[in-house]
């Protein structure tokens, strides 16, 4: 993980994360960025359930291009508030979107056009605060957003970059296609006989994937279908402790800066309490060809 972030996420990069909305959020990758003191990042996503708040609080962020930043079960993002309201720990720029418009911004980049039209956001003041949005002929033109990197956590991937994810995918596909490069973190690193057994489930063209990191639990506290439930209590504790800048710093020290890697982090989690124990295997599709 350390090498992947060092190599592919430089200071100033535009990074899409949390593109599966509340599920499969690449927290481990985000925490590694914080440990490496990454700076001046532009974060791109639909809603961000706590991860963007943590990166903002750690001072890694120059701009947020997103529809929603907070804590889905607990409410406000306290670091996001401090940054916008007081410039603490630093000033950040916000490019507001709706969920639909950030998806269209990524599709515009994926199809390599300057913008895509939509009727959403008509009448909304978001049009007045985001320079990437314009209106013409009764339509909103959503300017393309092209991330330098998209980071996704998935259930399984092979070493060649073929990733399988399931459950609701949000804007995962357009984020991967729009990005210059994709970093995949996965619960299971599998042989290509697994991924190629179902090419329809492969998320991205392998030509976009620059790194595959085997990082079990890399999405905690967000849920991973078939592996982990959402750790609601962990989100609640984060919300409470991050109310004050000091409380956040202590939390960050305890869960990120003072932790060498994800494996050590997971040792502190009551994994049994959140592990999914009932299995619901999908019924096979037959790719027989002869």
């Amino acid at each position: 993980m350390a090498q992947a972030i060092e190599r592919f996420v430089p200071d100033g990069a535009t990074v899409a994360m949390g593109v599966g909305l509340e599920a499969l959020i690449p927290f481990a990758a985000g925490h590694e960025m914080i440990r490496q003191r990454r700076r001046d990042l532009e974060l791109v996503g639909p809603i961000s359930d706590a991860l963007f708040d943590q990166l903002i609080g750690a001072g890694c962020v120059r701009r947020v291009t997103a529809a929603w930043v907070g804590n889905v079960s607990e409410g406000l993002g306290h670091c996001y508030r401090r940054a916008c309201e007081q410039g603490v720990p630093r000033e950040i720029e916000v490019h507001d979107h709706s969920n639909f418009s950030i998806s269209l911004a990524l599709w515009a980049a994926a199809w390599n056009v300057p913008s895509l039209p939509t009727r959403t956001l008509l009448g909304s003041d978001i049009l007045s605060t985001n320079p990437n949005l314009a209106t013409a002929d009764g339509l909103v033109q959503v300017g393309a957003v092209r991330p330098d990197a998209a980071i996704v956590h998935v259930q399984r991937a092979d070493g060649h970059g073929r990733a399988h994810a399931w459950g609701p995918l949000g804007i995962t596909e357009e984020a991967g296609l729009a990005a210059d490069r994709v970093i995949v973190t996965c619960e299971e690193l599998v042989d290509e006989s697994v991924t190629l057994s179902d090419p329809n489930r492969i998320l991205f063209p392998e030509t976009k994937v620059v790194a595959v990191v085997h990082e079990p639990g890399g999405a905690h506290p967000s849920p991973v279908q078939g592996h982990f439930k959402r750790d609601h209590a962990f989100y609640r504790e984060y919300a409470e402790r991050s109310r004050s800048a000091g409380g956040f710093d202590a939390w960050l020290q305890e869960w990120v800066l003072g932790v060498p890697d994800r494996a050590s982090y997971m040792k502190r989690i009551d994994v049994d309490a959140i592990r999914i124990k009932q299995h619901r295997p999908s019924i096979a599709a037959d790719f027989g060809d002869e």
């Binding site: 599966g20 909305l21 509340e22 599920a23 639909p46 809603i47 359930d49 997103a66 529809a67 929603w68 930043v69 907070g70 889905v72 079960s73 406000l76 993002g77 996001y80 508030r81 940054a83 916008c84 309201e85 916000v94 507001d96 979107h97 709706s98 969920n99 639909f100 418009s101 998806s103 269209l104 599709w107 939509t118 009727r119 959403t120 956001l121 008509l122 009448g123 909304s124 003041d125 978001i126 605060t129 009764g138 399931w166 459950g167 609701p168 995918l169 949000g170 804007i171 995962t172 596909e173 357009e174 967000s222 849920p223 279908q225 078939g226 439930k229 959402r230 989100y235 999914i276 619901r280």
Partner: protein, 256 residues
């Protein structure tokens, strides 16, 4: 009577009654997800729920949900897809009813979930639109739930994240190209506010049991109009309460 259920439980029951049988409902989270569960089990057995994360369901999830992306919401889903496909259905006018949360709503039903105060240096930075603006603009009709306080029900929102009836002038939405019909009701901890058929200004339709018209008007940030036939909000039925408590067993959403 009021002691036998919480204001949130009443709000959920009232919200569930906004769902018509056969509706495709853009559900969202928190109280609306419970309202959907109640309606499915009561008067709307053929309603379907659409979630912006990229899910369609008929039966509500069998276990408690902290978010719409929780695994129980995926198991048994009728469609697990991309957000843009769920939004496509809404853009086509296929979403009959949407629910939106908000921090501030004004007399014309505009919602603010972005900034309190000047956006460049806000007094409060709220999380943002999420799918709220999309629902407000594209769904056929929508409803919002809110704690009834003067600082939440305001004369005019300082930032219009999710447009209702704009400046309240007749036909504002049509003139500005907004396809959907806009807000149908504001369900609060004290009352239900509704809007005239063609938009405009919210009026007091029903007052929750144990509360008075004056109490509601005093808790509202503008000079709230009162319907000629203002009545009492029907209390949640035992059946509704039973469903609510089944889907929120620990009262995470309705008793905290």
């Amino acid at each position: 009577m009021t002691s036998s259920y919480t204001p949130q439980e009443l709000m959920v029951a009232v919200a569930s009654r906004e769902i018509r049988d056969g509706d495709l409902v853009f559900v969202g989270m928190r109280l609306p997800i419970l309202a959907y569960a109640v309606a499915r089990n009561a008067h709307a057995p053929n309603a379907r729920g659409l979630f912006e994360v990229g899910l369609m369901r008929d039966q509500p999830a069998s276990a408690f949900l902290g978010t719409m992306g929780d695994p129980p919401n995926v198991a048994g889903a009728l469609w697990a897809t991309r957000m843009s496909n769920a939004m496509a259905l809404m853009a086509q006018g296929h979403v009959d009813l949407g629910f939106i949360g908000g921090a501030e709503v004004d007399r014309f039903g505009n919602l603010n979930t972005s900034y309190v105060g000047e956006p460049s240096r806000p007094k409060v930075k709220l999380p943002g639109s999420g799918g709220g603006a999309d629902i407000a603009i594209l769904s056929r009709r929508w409803v919002t739930l809110m704690t009834h306080e003067p600082r939440r029900l305001v004369e005019r929102v300082s930032f219009n994240t999710s447009p209702g009836h704009g400046d309240g002038s007749p036909g504002w939405r049509a003139r500005n190209g907004l396809p959907g019909g806009g807000p149908a009701a504001i369900i609060t901890t004290l009352a239900v506010l509704r809007f005239p058929p063609h938009g405009g200004e919210a009026y007091l339709a029903t007052v929750h049991p144990g509360h008075s018209v004056d109490e509601v008007r005093n808790a509202t940030g503008w000079n709230l109009k009162v319907s000629g036939d203002v009545s009492e909000t029907p209390a949640p039925t035992a059946f509704e309460l039973d469903a609510i408590r089944r889907f929120d067993p620990d009262g995470f959403w309705t008793r905290s």
